[in-house]
């Protein structure tokens, strides 16, 4: 009998076997906890204050949202270098639409402009994906062209002028919060949905006569999740509005991140499309011989990244209350770094959405902590680069050990 890929040695190995979460993701979660504690000590408790954690959560949201799609693209052995530039184009286009075509403050303005950038983003992504998949150009080159072109396309929309202001309702997508009550509702919903999925899995295994994992293990997993979610909601609720006792609750961009993480995890691991993405990444020829529409699968993965970039553009422009040409600079590299740090292999075939969000959180934690410590911004980027190198090195060792 062959041994499984993840050995049983060590605490992390055993935790992997129990929870089914990738070893590298668990290692990064451990690194995240260590980083948080170290920063908290060094900043005399400032790091783990509700205010800072609230800001950290908002800062993580855009990179986290886009990285859930980037994982799929990288799993298909492709890359998307265009997201930062595309975010600028989409942000400017959306802002231009709501200011100059629709009317700021009109009832439909916010959702029409969101729908518009979503469709536009998906189309831009699909175009890059179609060139990659159907014409057979390397995605590195196609999206490098996108990196060069999209921001300039944004310049053409306004001749370089910054669009401002942003519709007030639309502005809530940047720094609005959902309030204390809704935060608890979201927290409860997360726990209930995960518990329902676990129960559904147990039921479907019982239906075909398979043994299930011990009940205590599933209950313990739900309990851990519940503890984390409750702590998170409580922290967000503890950050109050200035000169008041009213808690803000979970920021809107973070709610969006949570919903997207859930949807994308579902797509990635519980649908045919997700299975095709991973199988294609593992062996493109096998996928083709199995009769899978591989080109369409690759194109859709790029379209998803485009749509998620549109959501990133909405959040970023809403936070700034403006759409300057400069938004999204180096965003593609932060997103790719989040994926890789979260265990996505650049060789394709492996990577998880949960891991990418952990990766995004780890990067933002380091940046946030360094800011609190007063480290200059040049140094912050160097640290970010080091973390990326370390993560890729980790992946190289991991891949070698698997052989």
């Amino acid at each position: 009998m062959a041994t499984t890929r993840t050995g049983s040695q060590g605490i992390i190995g055993r935790a992997t076997a129990l929870t089914g979460v990738d070893t590298r993701v668990l290692a990064m979660l451990a690194a995240l906890v260590v980083a948080a504690i170290v920063f908290n000590v060094l900043t005399d408790g400032l790091f783990l204050s509700p205010r800072n954690l609230w800001n950290l959560a908002v800062q993580t949201s855009v990179v986290g949202i886009i990285s859930t799609g980037m994982v799929l693209v990288i799993v298909t052995r492709n890359i998307d270098l265009s997201v930062g530039s595309l975010e600028a184009f989409l942000g400017i286009s959306g802002a231009y639409l709501q200011l100059n075509v629709l009317h700021i403050g009109a009832p439909g303005t916010w959702w029409i402009s969101i729908l518009f950038v979503l469709v536009l983003g998906a189309l831009c992504g699909a175009a890059q994906g179609a060139i990659t998949a159907y014409l057979g150009l390397p995605s590195f080159v196609v999206t490098l062209a996108g990196l060069m072109a999209w921001r300039s396309a944004g310049w053409l929309v306004t001749r370089g002028e910054t669009v401002t202001p942003i519709d007030e309702t639309l502005g809530l997508f940047g720094d609005g919060s959902i309030g204390v009550l809704w935060s608890w509702i979201v927290a409860a919903a997360i726990v209930l949905i995960v518990a329902a999925l676990i129960a559904q899995r147990r039921a479907s295994r019982s239906r075909v006569g398979f043994a299930n994992r011990p009940v205590w293990l599933d209950l313990a997993l739900v309990a851990v999740l519940a503890a984390v979610v409750i702590a998170f909601a409580a922290t967000m609720n503890a950050y109050t509005y200035p000169k008041s006792a009213v808690g803000r609750g979970i920021p809107v961009p973070v709610v969006i991140l949570i919903v997207i993480a859930g949807v994308m995890s579902f797509v990635g691991s519980m649908t045919r499309f997700g299975r095709y993405v991973y199988g294609y990444g593992g062996n493109p020829e096998a996928a083709q011989l199995a009769g899978i529409p591989t080109k369409r699968v690759v194109m859709i993965a790029f379209a998803i990244v485009g749509a998620l970039t549109a959501i990133g553009a909405v959040i970023t422009t809403a936070r700034l209350d403006a759409a300057p040409l400069s938004i999204g600079q180096l965003l593609e590299l932060q997103v790719i770094a989040a994926c890789v740090i979260g265990g996505t292999s650049l060789a394709g075939g492996s990577g998880s959405i949960f891991g990418a969000i952990v990766g995004a959180t780890l990067i933002q934690t380091l940046l946030n902590g360094l800011v609190l410590l007063g480290v200059e911004s040049a140094m912050q980027q160097i640290v970010e680069a080091m973390v990326l190198l370390a993560a890729v090195w980790f992946d190289v060792i991991y891949q070698r050990r698997r052989r």
């Binding site: 499984t4 890929r5 398979f210 593992g282 062996n283 020829e285 011989l289």
Partner: protein, 260 residues
């Protein structure tokens, strides 16, 4: 459609890549419950012919009938629809996916919400794999971590799961040790007894003579000879493969190269 119609009949098959005639006017017949060994040098056109049958390459000329009715095969999906499955030399498995996911790759079972029904797929995978190899347990591990014989069993199970009537095996034993080769041999005999027709491409004359009922020899993309294993010898077959020289001492038309 008659009862005794051959399972597969390929007639006048031609395939060109640019100016190169990979397969030229090739005929091949396969009956239910038999193993047909397809022999020839590298580049003789065996793999091309099989890829045509499996839908990986479209044919330029010729006709294919399955159980007596003419079929159009222009994609792997078309081939699967008429019960033709291929196991390639590389096995064409996604190493990062589990045995279950590989067996159902491209034909996943979903529930009414469009969610993958993992439990049902695992149960079905189990019953089909254990028909081949009762000791097989590793349904969750990525197939990249399995042994050559286990991977071969997964690849074969992939074809059986969907009631293949015709299985094409490209070098099924080339990458295997003696024990695993024997295991695959047993698998092939079992499939045969279930009435499945098997076309086996192999370089190993010993295996071919051991497992096949009939052999077909190709050279330079053309048909040389087809006949029962019992009616020929390894030496004669070698002469056909290398020289295109038939058992009666003549040469097959169109296959003799300048060196012949």
């Amino acid at each position: 459609m008659t009862v005794d119609a051959p399972l597969v009949q390929m007639r006048g098959i031609s395939k060109r890549f640019g100016g190169v005639h990979a397969v030229e006017d090739m005929n091949l017949t396969l009956y239910a419950g038999e193993v047909l060994g397809l022999l020839g040098h590298n580049g003789a056109g065996k793999s091309t012919l099989m890829k045509i049958l499996a839908g990986a390459y479209p044919l330029d000329e010729g006709e294919i009938t399955v159980s007596g009715s003419s079929v159009q095969i222009s994609s792997p999906r078309d081939a699967k629809r008429v019960g033709i499955e291929a196991i390639y030399q590389t096995l064409a498995l996604a190493d990062n996916l589990s045995a279950t996911a590989n067996i159902f790759f491209g034909r996943e079972i979903v529930n009414r919400f469009g969610m993958l029904d993992e439990a049902r797929m695992e149960r079905d995978a189990m019953s089909v794999v254990q028909r081949l190899n009762p000791h097989f347990q590793n349904f969750h591990a990525p197939v990249g971590s399995l042994s050559g014989g286990q991977r071969q069993a997964v690849a074969i199970a992939r074809t059986l799961q969907f009631n293949a009537k015709i299985i094409i095996m490209d070098e099924p034993t080339a990458a295997l040790g003696p024990h695993e080769t024997q295991m695959v041999g047993n698998l092939i005999r079992q499939l045969k007894s279930e009435g499945i027709g098997i076309i086996m491409i192999s370089h190993d004359l010993h295996d071919v003579f051991d497992l096949s009922d009939r052999v077909s020899v190709m050279k330079n993309g053309r048909h040389v000879w087809t006949g029962r294993v019992a009616d020929t010898t390894k030496d004669q077959v070698l002469e056909m493969i290398i020289l295109g020289k038939l058992p009666d001492g003549s040469y097959a038309p169109g296959v003799v190269s300048d060196f012949g």
